[in-house]
Symmetry: C2
Subunit: 76 residues, 2 copies
């Protein structure tokens, strides 16, 4: 089981991306965790360490994929 | 079967995104088409009509998801 983490901040762009992407992943292969960085600011450092620069972003197998643009991590 | 179209231009950012995302989609639910807009410039208009502004981008159920940034469509 691979791990996928979707980081967001509750913005409209984030919600649209989450609805489109998270549900499209193969649930048999990916365990998906959704992290709201506004509610869990203590995980911003973790996201940055994975290469996330803005939200929404999906980290899939250590690859940070910025999906559209909602907000910069530095603005959270 | 839903349709997913991954638009790219062969750039390194495009290749990385394709490898991470296209293979992660649920193949039972999505028929994925990969379109190289450098090789098929006649499809740039189609991508624009779907809201794609840069590559790599994935169009999932009519939602245009720009994944990281390789090149603007206007530069192709």
């Amino acid at each position: 089981m691979s791990k996928a983490v979707f980081y967001h901040a509750g913005c409209p762009v984030c919600v649209e991306a989450e609805q489109a992407v998270v549900g499209a992943l193969d649930a048999k292969r990916f365990e998906v965790e959704v992290v709201h960085l506004g509610s869990a600011p203590s995980r911003i450092g973790e996201a940055q360490a994975k290469g996330v620069k803005s939200v929404p972003a999906l980290v899939l197998d250590d690859v940070a994929l910025h999906i559209n643009f909602g907000a910069a991590l530095s603005d959270l």
